[in-house]
Each structure stands twice: as C-alpha cells, then as structure tokens.
Amino acid sequence: MNGRRHGQELVRVYVRTGGRVRPSRELGLVTLVIAANAPLQGLDVEARRIAGLCRSQRSLSIGEIAAHLNLPPSAVKILVSALIDSGHLTVPPAPQQGDAPDIDLVREVLNGLRALRA
C-alpha cells in the first residue's frame, strides 16, 4: 500500500467524522453489520462507500469492510459506529457474544470445525 495516499485517506476520515476519534459503541474486527436501507444522500464519501458495500440481506464483518475498501480498521469502526447511530447500518438481531467466550459458543465452533473435517 502507498503510505502517503493511505495517510491522506485517513486524515479525510478524521475530518469527516467531525474530529470524533472514538467510535460511539464497542465494535470489534469481527462484529457483523447489515445495511438498513436508509437513503445514502448526504453521507460523506467514506461513509457512503461503507453503506454502499453493505447489503440488507447479507452481513459482513468490520474487518472485511476495512479490507474491501482499503481503509484502516480503526477508521472503519468509527464510521460504522456513526452509520449505526444514523440508522444506515444495524447489527444483526442476535446474541452477539460478550467479552468472555462462553462454553456454548466454543462447543458450536468445535462442532462446526469437526463437520468441515468430516
């Protein structure tokens, strides 16, 4: 990646998020988001790119959004957070797990991996 171009992109992101440099909610690299079908008019360039990439019947993780749009994950977290606040994106209605891995999740991962190996 070209470092200089990347740096400018990032500066734009910070300017466009109004100097807000912390996401308003706790989002991780693997947090899933889906589009909420709100009109994209009025959104800034990067926010529009993110909202445009997301789909209403499909989910993508924050990490995937960052990779596909060539944006730093930290910037994507800030922008996605704002897009959730503005009603453009939602997190799928589900038990998103907390910080501590729970046994049911771990067992489900184990069963899923075993099924792939079979």
Binding site: G7, L29, S59, L60, A67, S74, Q96, E108
Partner: protein, 199 residues
C-alpha cells in the same frame, strides 16, 4: 486493496449468520501463519492495513495522525462459515516484533490462539508464548514442520518451550487443509475442556 490481483471478490454472509468468533494464528516472523490462513479459509484471505502509530495510540490524539511515510501493519485473515448462524474468523498476527502492540486489539474477544512454531527457531517462540500467557489467552502449539528441519520428540519440544502439561502440542503442515483443521479442532477442544472444568 492495492495488491496485484486486484480487489478480492466480496463474499457476503447469509442473513441467518448472526454470531461471530475469532481465533488468532500466532507465531514469530515467517513461521507459516499466512500460509495456514490461506489453506483453510473459505474466502480468499483478506488484508487490512493500519498505520502503526495509530494502532499503538488507540486513536485518541489528533496530533498523532499518520506521518507521510509511516509504516502500516498488515493483518491477514480468513473466514469459515461454521453453520447457518455462526462464522469463525482466523487472524494471522503480524510476525515482526515492532507490530506487537497491535496484538492487544486482536486478542480482545478472541477464543484462543494457535501458536505456530518452527523447531529450527524455538527460542523465538518464547516471547510469543509469554505474550499469550500475560493476556490469559489460552493457546495450543502447532509445530509447522518445514522441509529439512530436524525432527524432535514431543517431550523435547515441550521442554524447550516450557509448555504446561495441559497445553496441546501437535504437528502441522500449514499448507495442508486437513492438518490445519485438525490443529484448530485440537485447540478448540482444549478451549471447551478448559471452560467445562473452570466455567
């Protein structure tokens, strides 16, 4: 992405998938992390890049915006959809030591780590294992057997790495999908067992 192959195909998850989990693929520089992620991911592995000062300062200071020629740290990751509602992401941790500050963010919320080691450079794995232990991140160790590397009996590797008796140790070829899946299964089996005995 600015790689030569152009933008990766976007592969969306079905709407039923509403849960995600994360496992780290860790290890020192050049041990085979990217290879392993590529061997088992269902999508072409993806890459994100984060400016390093920003990653290490948690983005709370506008005066620390990236300099012109700043280093970025690349993370590569892959994906496995495990059932109609659950997806697993595998993140290769950056091998170079100066990028380790980024691991903290990566480790947050991870189920555990698969630590790859190379028997020709076992001493380099010490710091990686120490990192996991300091953060209480449970791990299994997979020996990535490189062609030409001397083979050692498991107990010697255990001793050299000072592994706890309960820490799983296995052999793995990072290029072989089934071997990598087996390594992950061993890790997650261990994780489940830990939670069962110590909920």
């Amino acid at each position: 992405m600015s790689n030569d192959s152009g933008p990766a195909q976007i592969s969306y998850l079905p709407p039923t998938v509403n849960r995600s989990a994360k496992i780290l693929i860790a290890g020192h520089f050049g041990v085979g992390k990217t290879t392993l992620v590529g061997s088992i991911s269902e999508i072409e592995p993806l890459r994100t890049e984060e400016p390093i000062t920003q990653a290490s300062t948690a983005v709370d200071d506008l005066t620390q915006l990236p300099q012109k020629d700043e280093t970025t740290v690349a993370l590569d990751f892959g994906r496995l959809t495990l059932n109609e509602r659950l997806v697993l992401y595998l993140f290769g941790t950056p091998g170079q030591r100066r990028f380790w500050p980024l691991w903290d963010d990566l480790a947050h919320g991870a189920l555990g780590a698969l630590v790859l080691v190379d028997t020709r450079r076992l001493d380099e794995s010490d710091a990686v294992l120490a990192f996991m232990e300091e953060r209480d991140l449970p791990y299994a160790v997979a020996v990535n057997e490189f062609t030409g590397a001397r083979r050692f009996p498991a107990h010697e590797i255990r001793q050299a790495l000072d592994l706890a008796p309960h820490t799983p140790l296995l052999l793995c070829d990072a290029r072989a999908r089934d071997a990598c899946l087996d390594a992950l299964i061993t890790l997650v089996h261990y994780l489940a067992h830990r939670l069962e005995i110590r909920p």
